[in-house]
Amino acid sequence: MKIGIIATAHEVPRIQSLLRYLEGKADVHLYVDEQGVVDSRSTAFDEQVIFTKGRGYALLTMARIAEASGIAVVNSAHSTWVATHRLLASIACREAGVRVPEFSVGTSAPDAFDKVIVKNIVDQNHLRFLDILPIVGGPRATIPPITTSEEAGSSELAPQYHFYQRFLRTEFEYKVYGFGERLLYYRQLPVLVNPDKMSTRVQIDEVPELKRAARAAMRATGLEIASLDFLEEDGELYLTDVNSTPNFNYIAEGAQIVGDYLLAIARDGGRQVETRRAPAPRRRT
């Protein structure tokens, strides 16, 4: 069996545990976003399944090349792109019936939100501007321009746009890790209360509402491996973040879970995700 892993350099240390687990079980080839040249004529893959770990444009292009050759890609280029663009992930999840906080993209926070959390348009949390975001502000909050996605073009106004999400007053943050149909549930203090998230994180039993929302969000975005952040306000759970590149090392036997998921797909001949699960129900038509 052959498994390919396309990763950004930032993610390479995080996948060492997966590489060790797969050793002897599959022939694994690692492609690093920043190290190789994507060549539309000669870049080719012969693996049964490709695992993507990261969000770079070269990574997405390699994933598209693999998909065009009929290879199963986990997570797909499109699902990673959607998850990376916060607005699009919020739109897709809300459309699938998942409760998300009110959101907008613009140059200032909407009046109606009272208090907001400001995030960068594109989730590239390994980039240098992490230290200034997120910011919590009041109505019509504005923040200085920041580096934004190259996709936003060269307009001088582009960096003034941010993603605004209504701020939720919450006691706990819930995190759901999804690996295909398998979900794992955790609770922790909100990162804004205690940035050392792992110090308060505990695994919890299945929560039916989290299960329903996580499954719907993963289907809506197309993600097969994800972590999903939920906050609880007035007894209601809200999905606040969708992450296409979860750090599975935070989970006991995380590398084994991911490895077994990839091995199962490879063993099955690398069927595309569409045939591995039923289409997602849509709330609106």
Binding site: E34, Q35, G36, V37, V38, D39, S40, R41, G56, Y57, A58, L60, T61, R64, A68, H85, L87, L88, I91, A92, R94, E95, E102, F103, S104, V105, G106, T107, P110, I121, S149, E150, E151, A152, G153, S154, S155, L157, A158, Y161, R284
Partner: protein, 253 residues
């Protein structure tokens, strides 16, 4: 009916569209990056016209569509047509050749490309009007330092053809390489292979109008698609704006 036009420019097509729509009794609001807010107020419109392919206008198109609003052209197709690293996959489905491309960090390109791979054409991932397009003749001309990956395309020598299409009618103009489509061009007849390529492109994308930039490779005579757009200004095609405006307004239910 309420119509939102998402645009970088309020003249040209947008002025013609507004005039026609208002004469038909519709209310038109224009949004550019100085006044665009992407939120649920987009649901107040009956039609959103996605004139620009800039990311935030695309966002607005996706948002409006999810709110049940008719969006023209379709946002997902706009994204695929406009994004340099996605368009070749769409073109392949339409049986249209595209140049070989390289995409990597400057360091990886310096190490991975051979002298024989040059000259190459550097382009932005998303761009229009030849903005940011430059010829890179050798390793020495690659940018020294940047944290952005570079998209480089094989330079295809040959005749540059600017093709506009509106439904099943195409107009072809010969243009100079690496200059904006608004610069002087020379209208020529529509070759059969261009007609065929436009038909396949329309079938794959579902677009009712748009533009395609081809180079006819003077080594092989093959048509090579080097750029595409879902909503051009239709420079050099008098009356196109009126025709496109009517098509767009035809989407109002």
């Amino acid at each position: 009916m309420r119509i939102a036009v998402l645009t970088k420019r309020h003249w040209g097509f947008c002025a013609v569209f507004r005039d026609l729509a208002e004469r038909r009794g519709h209310e038109v609001a224009s949004f550019d990056l100085t006044n665009l807010a992407i939120d649920d107020t987009l649901g107040d419109f009956d039609l959103v016209v996605l004139k620009s392919k800039q990311l935030y206008f695309l966002y607005a198109g996706f948002h409006a569509k999810a709110l049940g609003v008719t969006v023209v052209p379709e946002p997902q197709i706009c994204k695929q047509v406009s994004t340099r690293i996605e368009m070749p996959f769409l073109a392949a489905r339409a049986g249209i050749a595209t140049p070989r491309f390289y995409f990597a960090s400057p360091k990886a390109l310096r190490e991975g490309l051979a002298a024989r791979d040059f000259p190459l054409v550097r382009k932005r991932i998303v761009g229009s009007g030849s903005v940011g397009v430059e010829l890179i003749s050798s390793h020495a001309e690659l940018p020294e330092t940047t944290d952005q990956h570079l998209y480089l395309e094989e330079f295809v020598p040959g005749q540059h053809l600017l093709v506009y299409f509106i439904e099943d009618v195409a107009r072809v103009f010969e243009k100079q390489p690496f200059v904006s489509g608004r610069m002087p061009v020379r209208r020529i007849g529509t070759p059969d292979d261009v007609t065929s390529a436009v038909e396949r492109w329309r079938r794959v994308t579902g677009l009712e109008f748009g533009h395609l930039d081809f180079v006819r490779d003077n080594r092989t005579n093959e048509l090579v698609l080097v750029d595409s757009g879902p909503f051009p200004q239709f420079w050099h095609w008098p009356s196109a704006a009126e025709r496109v405006s009517s098509i767009v307004l035809g989407h109002l239910r």
